[in-house]
């Protein structure tokens, strides 16, 4: 029986009640009142804090202590009560005051919790698990009186913790018993070494974070930090809460995927699903080879930049739209915008479905291209960096002097990540008077990115001389990215975008 399921109970800690949890730190990142937003913060930024495992443990201990004083229950029992109530302490206190016995019972505690756990030798005892009845055998039982030998109890706990990853809600091994094994009992039964090797304490801390809406573990592999952010699930159609962990990982607090600004989580979910469903249709598009639009010789892409020059005929064109490159960068040229076919073209069903596929492919193509290009950019950078290190040792250039390459590469990665998601965003965008501004911002960022990306294809000996230019281009890229994100987030917050799907 999971307590989330017994609906008719009068004790209700269900998360989706309309009573919102108040955050202790009052550290709410995104407030619905515009006037409360600090002027210096950009519209796409949210407040958040990164916590170490020690911080989390401290927070947890502090709350247990506080509530323990109020309820007059020992710390261990209070911890169980708080975990049972999913750390909603106001509600716990309220319910506890009202119907103490029921709350204690449902949390897996009886009324008498003050007695410290201890091992006992009982004459004539036989353990129901192993059937051992040796004299002088140590046994253990909680207040439910389901008594087993220490070895069995211990083995049971280790299995629950180690194999099943449980900690906060381990039940008594007795048949059908709901009594929760508190951490004091666990400590009594398991040695410190065993507790450490099972990572019991860590698992307990995990449930604290898992139970709190304003806390999430950083999803980066091996990262131990948790992030505290006040953005709520119900706000995710109005804000994209990207947070930055101390380990360097940027992720969305709403869905824990990699940063996907400016696209809100509901659209991200939809888009990824669509890409998965349509992957076969779209696969041929993102292939790495194409033909030169002039001489038809096969061209392979080896860098991230979209400015292509055919080796054979020297024709310069754009990899994305296959249009002439010289026309890019002029104000009337739109590589990023999908031109809707005029109404009478798309009259019959077949033409309509073709048009809708074409439209999807337009956006998917660009989305996938930025993803692919980010990888190629990185490859090129790594090669360049290697060459630079060689150059450094032969020419005596210092580490600081080559740092600009690293900065440029990082900016490029970040901008491509943003650009990639602008295409998913644009796919769901219904045209209105704001769309054009968005497309302009997108085009400006794209041009800035291509310009910077192109520089990585220069030979190493040229690069040292291009340092200032590269730094300028890096700054410009970052600036364009902020402009795009700020504008998009501002309009998202104010509900100015019209989407062609529901944001749910």
């Amino acid at each position: 029986m999971d307590f989330g399921e017994d609906r008719d109970s009068s004790v209700d800690f269900d998360g989706d009640s309309d009573n919102d949890i108040d955050f202790e730190d009052a550290d709410v990142g995104f407030d619905t009142q515009d006037k409360d937003i600090k002027p210096r913060k950009k519209a796409f930024e949210v407040d958040f804090h990164v916590h170490s495992p020690q911080d989390i443990q401290g927070q947890q201990d502090k709350q247990v202590e506080e509530v323990s004083n109020i309820l007059g229950q020992p710390l261990e029992a209070t911890a169980i009560l708080l975990r049972y109530s999913r750390w909603n302490k106001e509600r716990l206190i309220e319910q506890y005051m009202e119907k103490q016995d029921e709350v204690l019972d449902k949390a897996g505690l009886g009324q008498d919790v003050a007695r410290p756990p201890r091992l006992q030798v009982i004459n004539g005892f036989m353990c129901d698990i192993c059937c051992d009845d040796s004299r002088g055998m140590q046994t253990f039982a909680m207040k439910c009186n389901h008594r087993f030998c220490v070895d069995c109890y211990r083995q049971y706990l280790v299995q629950k913790i180690k194999d099943e990853g449980e900690a906060a809600r381990i039940r008594c091994p007795g048949e059908g018993c709901n009594q929760i094994v508190d951490s004091k009992s666990v400590a009594l039964l398991l040695s410190t070494d065993l507790m450490n090797s099972c990572r019991y304490q860590e698992l307990l801390t995990r449930t604290y974070v898992d139970d709190k809406d304003n806390l999430k573990w950083c999803p980066a592999p091996n990262c131990v930090y948790a992030v505290d952010c006040g953005v709520k699930q119900k706000d995710l159609h109005r804000i994209v809460p990207t947070v930055h962990c101390d380990c360097g990982h940027n992720f969305c607090f709403g869905c824990t995927l990699l940063d996907h600004q400016p696209t809100p989580c509901p659209l991200v979910r939809r888009w990824l699903k669509k890409c998965e469903d349509d992957s076969e249709t779209a696969n041929w598009i993102s292939a790495n080879t194409k033909e030169c639009p002039r001489c038809r010789s096969t061209i392979e892409k080896n860098g991230g930049c979209n400015h292509m020059t055919c080796r054979k005929c020297k024709h310069e064109f754009c990899w994305m739209c296959m249009g002439v490159w010289s026309e890019h960068g002029t104000s009337w040229y739109n590589c990023n915008r999908y031109e809707e076919k005029s109404g009478h073209d798309a009259r019959d069903a077949q033409a309509k479905s073709r048009a809708s596929l074409e439209r999807y492919l337009h956006y998917y193509n660009r989305y996938a291209n930025h993803e692919q290009s980010a990888k190629l950019d990185k490859d090129i950078y790594l090669k360049t960096e290697k060459k630079m290190t060689q150059l450094q040792s032969s020419s005596g250039m210092s580490w600081i002097e080559v740092q600009f390459l690293d900065n440029a590469s990082q900016a490029l990665q970040q901008c491509r990540q943003t650009l990639k998601w602008t295409y998913a965003f644009a796919y769901y965008l219904a045209r209105n008077n704001l769309t054009e501004i968005f497309e302009d911002n997108q085009k400006d960022l794209e041009m800035a990115v291509e310009n910077l990306s192109e520089m990585f294809e220069k030979s190493t000996d040229q690069l040292a001389a291009l340092k200032v230019e590269m730094m300028d281009k890096t700054t410009y890229c970052t600036k364009r990215r902020i402009i795009l994100l700020d504008d998009t987030a501002e309009n998202l917050k104010n509900g100015n975008w019209k989407f062609n799907v529901e944001l749910v």
């Binding site: 698990i129 083995q155 048949e175």
Partner: protein, 161 residues
């Protein structure tokens, strides 16, 4: 896919065989009503005859349960299935797998073969229709290559059992 069947083939631990011997003795003295253990020399696999309780949909019907014990019984749950033909029941699949929480998530090492049998009989007795689970065909198809019910992530049909 074969991990659990391989695990159940591992010899019983000392604790497991001690406990099973005790259970067997206890069973012989005091068998659960409606069940008959078909005695073999294989302690690790029990075949038990079930008689539908009088006055229920399964009255006068006899089925067979096969109970396989893992190395670390009773810390680990036994694998319990109906041998063909399995009774028609909304929580019993045509391949004999049983959707009953105590056999999986809610297993407790203090339970015994006897208590499992009683739960299964009460599950049969409380049934009001003789039919297969709704997802029977899909589930059975997924189990074709000898998958054990213990590898299934069960979504229990009824949280009252």
């Amino acid at each position: 896919m074969t991990s659990s069947s391989a695990a159940s083939r591992k010899a019983l631990s000392k604790i497991a065989s001690n406990r099973l011997q005790k259970e067997l003795v206890e069973w012989q003295v005091n068998p659960p009503v409606g069940f008959k253990h078909k005695v073999t020399d294989n302690l690790q696999r029990w075949v038990i005859e079930v008689n539908g309780a009088p006055g229920t949909l399964y009255a006068n019907e006899t089925y067979q349960l096969q109970v396989d014990f893992p190395e670390h019984y009773p810390m680990e749950a036994p694998q319990v299935i109906f041998l063909p033909p399995a009774p028609l029941h909304p929580h019993i699949y045509s391949n004999g797998h049983i959707c009953l929480d105590i056999l999986y998530d809610s297993w407790s090492p203090a339970m015994t073969v006897s208590s499992v049998c009683i739960s299964i009989l009460s599950m049969l007795s409380s049934s009001t229709v003789k039919q297969r689970p709704e997802d029977n065909d899909r589930y059975v198809k997924n189990c074709r290559n000898g998958r054990s019910p213990k590898e299934t992530r069960w979504w229990f049909h009824d949280d009252k059992v």
